[in-house]
Amino acid sequence: MFATVRSTTLLGVVGRAVDVEVHVGVGLPGFTIVGQPDEVCRESRDRVRAAFLSRGFAWPNRRITVNLAPSGERKGGAGLDLAIAVAVLIADEQLPPQVADRLAFVAELGLDGSLRSVIGAAPLVAAVRDRRVVVALGNVAAARAAGAVDVVAARDLAQVIACLRDDDEWLADGGDETAPDDAQLPDLADVRGQPVARLALEIAAAGGHHLLLVGPPGAGKSMLARRLPGILPPLTDDQALSCTMVHSAAHVSMSTSGRVTRPPFRSPHHSVSLVGLIGGGTSAMRPGEISLASEGVLFLDELGEFAPSVLDALRQPIEEGVVHVSRARTTLTFPARFLLVAAANPCPCGAGAPGVCVCDDAARAKYVRRFSGPLLDRFDLRVSVGLPRVDDLVDGGKGESSSAVAARVLCARTIAIERNGSVNAKIAVDDFDTVAPLAPAARALLRRELEVGRLSGRGLHRVRRVARTIADLDGAPVIVGESHVATALQLRTGLGVLTGGR
């Protein structure tokens, strides 16, 4: 007569447990689903019925009511199909009442009764990981990645029912969770010359400082940016899990292990919409590029081509590390702890150099207006990248490899986190004098920059954070010296017309 089976639904990047309640009773034959199902969910009705009939199970010709509890929240996706099918069978007394009590079901049904993989398997399964979870074969790896201990699979509805009646064995393998992520990341050794840009990458990776690369087309800005994930410290287990959840929920392809093992690198095209970058959407709230880049690198090539409204929306997530997406029905929070790397041309003609640039005043003024000052201000590191020198290209040896740089980065970041409890980019203003005390010469240098008006109060804090990271990389974990501050100042210069000066 009545049955309850556990399944889950996706809300943004988080799964929520759902109890599928089925009542089979007297009345006109019919099949209704209540409890705020969305369009896909409502269509379960037809898939479940077709799967029953094509597999030869008896469809109860009575009144069937499915309630998705808690009924106050909107349910989406096809992951509830299997749970509904099992609940109908129990309610119709074709299966014994208690068979599903310690189980959860997350799979879509084909019309032939086969089990299909669902989008967002990792966060879906995570919501019910205290139970034995039944998934389609293709979702086993993702389910394991989500931390579920007891994951079983089946080919089709018939096998599921056979297993529930103890007539068959669950399929338990599928997906090699130890499969190494063998995709090669690009190596810094490919970059010839460019000592300043290389240093900037290293500092960005070690201190978590946002980086703006400015240079003419062909200088290698994208090439440099793509090498940043390779020198970032490896993801901790928590970070990897959080990345996996987001990638799974957004249905972004991952390695065969079903989990994200390396800092992600996202490079959205400049035509990206606000929702595409930040997250959201009307029916299903989907994480945006900034959440996919969380714990990794968000690379915005041709920064000046992005819509200004899209760029300005980045400011709050940059500060908070999360983004709150609010819609009429729901408010969701997505992670957004990304390292922002942007590339831009110095001016419309791309040359930038005094006497070589051919842009007129109007063109320059128009270009500068494309960048919002508050966003430019959030880049701790702003370096110019010149065209590679012929000598470096032709005769230069290979640069230092990513692994060597990554070792220094890891070392410096470890020092910083032991000292500050956070990466250097997040040092609070009040803590400067305890965690980043300045040598007298360094203090004098900063004083002068402030006096001539080249440095604002906020700029001062950013320079001090970068100088802290430079000192950490330089093996000076206590006092920040003059050379560290001098270098930090040079790595946060005005860039071409982007200063707007007279």
Partner: protein
């Protein structure tokens, strides 16, 4: 309104006398469509202000040769439509609101150097004190896309000339123009060390600006404050009536006035075919001495000035060169010895590299082959000592001052 123009007050540009409202009429005539500087000269010079107004209104007959000009292409219909009493009211209001004076060629206050010019504006608009035209006048012009070193030089030159009582004439454009006037305005706050040895009295070098747009149309807009300061401390003149937009064709016309007002014209930086060269040509036609600031052959911003020097222009390395060209006692300009600390040998390497061309930090690092942090420290010291400046991420050496050659 017409009768007012006929009454007697001031000169009407032909020797007759007109009153204050006649000036409004003159301004209105200058604002008529299709009446450029040449036609304006012909009309007002031949007919006087009041008759011209009657002629354009179709209330009086013009002499044969003027009528021929006015009837060309239906111009007379266009101007008759525009020449309304509403225009007069509007003009009177703009002149009043902008504190703008109207000068006619016959006026005593009309700048003497312009009066005899073959292309003198028949009607001139001015904001500020016209006394500056009694000073010695030096034009400082150059490119809008100036290098930081060029702007720095223009600023110093403007300051030093103003300090010696010379009025700096410039166009209030971006780049060199603005830098020269900023310098001229800053002379009162200059270091005490540059005061005249005689010390009796420091004459004021009131700045003179010659602009292309109407005097109530600030262009470029970011120069609003500078514009205001020049009007307070000196004078801004224009032949465009109030409300005139900075149309492209007005700039070459403005340049001829700038050249005519200057006794010596100094070009600080200019590209080979830059707008400054128009001013140079206008100066050459009027026998105004043209001087140029030499620059690196690598710098495109100095291509025009270096070409001028090859063509025979005298060089300007500091204000003393200009004072000599004006025939003034250049000893009054205290030859400022270079007070800058000599750069250390390591810093010198960086400075030498910068002297070749402007560079970004990463270019300097690649050029000098020193550790990155040492370059950063060197640049910091050179900047603090005044040997190098950074502008938009580009570092430039400041060796242009004469004393630096002895380092």
């Amino acid at each position: 309104m017409m009768q007012a123009g006929d009454s007697h007050g001031a000169h009407d540009g032909r020797g007759g006398r007109i009153n204050h409202d006649g000036r409004v009429v003159a301004a209105a005539i200058a604002a008529l469509p299709g009446i450029g500087p040449q036609r304006l000269r012909m009309l007002i010079g031949t007919l006087g202000v009041s008759t011209t107004w009657q002629v354009v209104r179709g209330e009086a007959r013009a002499p044969e040769h003027i009528a021929a000009v006015l009837h060309h292409d239906g111009l007379h219909r266009v101007v008759r439509r525009a020449a309304t009493s509403q225009l007069l009211e509007q003009m009177a209001e703009s002149l009043h609101n902008g504190a703008i004076r109207v000068l006619l060629a016959g006026d005593a206050e009309y700048p003497a150097s312009l009066r005899d010019d073959f292309a003198a504006p028949a009607v001139l608009f001015a904001r500020g004190e016209l006394g500056a035209f009694a000073n010695r006048r030096v034009g400082i012009i150059g490119t809008r896309a100036a290098s930081a070193a060029g702007r720095h030089f223009a600023q110093r030159l403007g300051r030093d000339l103003a300090h010696n009582g010379v009025s700096v004439v410039s166009g209030l454009a971006r780049g060199i123009d603005a830098a020269a006037h900023r310098g001229a305005l800053s002379h009162s706050t200059a270091r005490p060390g540059t005061h005249t040895p005689t010390g009796t009295h420091t004459p004021t070098g009131a700045p003179i600006a010659v602009v292309a747009s109407g005097l109530d149309v600030v262009y470029p807009r970011e120069h609003a404050a500078l514009w205001q300061q020049v009007a307070e401390r000196g004078v801004i003149i224009s032949e465009s009536p109030p409300g005139c937009a900075p149309d492209a064709f007005r700039f070459p016309l403005r340049n001829r006035i700038l050249a005519a007002v200057s006794e010596v014209l100094v070009v600080v930086e200019s590209r080979a075919g830059g707008g400054s060269m128009i001013t140079v040509d206008e100066a050459a036609r009027r026998g105004v001495t043209v001087m140029a600031v030499p620059g690196s052959p690598h710098s495109e911003a100095s291509a025009g000035t270096n070409a001028l020097i090859s063509a025979g222009a005298a060089t300007v390395c500091d204000a003393a060169d200009v004072m000599v060209a004006l025939g003034l006692d250049h000893h009054r300009h205290a030859a400022s010895s270079d007070a800058r600390t000599r750069p250390s040998s390591a810093d010198r390497v960086v400075l030498d590299a910068l002297a070749r061309r402007p560079m970004t930090f990463e270019q300097v690092v690649a050029e000098v082959n020193l550790p990155l942090h040492e370059v950063a420290m060197s640049l910091g010291r050179l900047d603090a000592q005044g040997w190098a400046v950074v502008n938009g991420g580009w570092w430039e050496a400041l060796l242009a001052m004469r004393a630096a050659t002895t380092v």
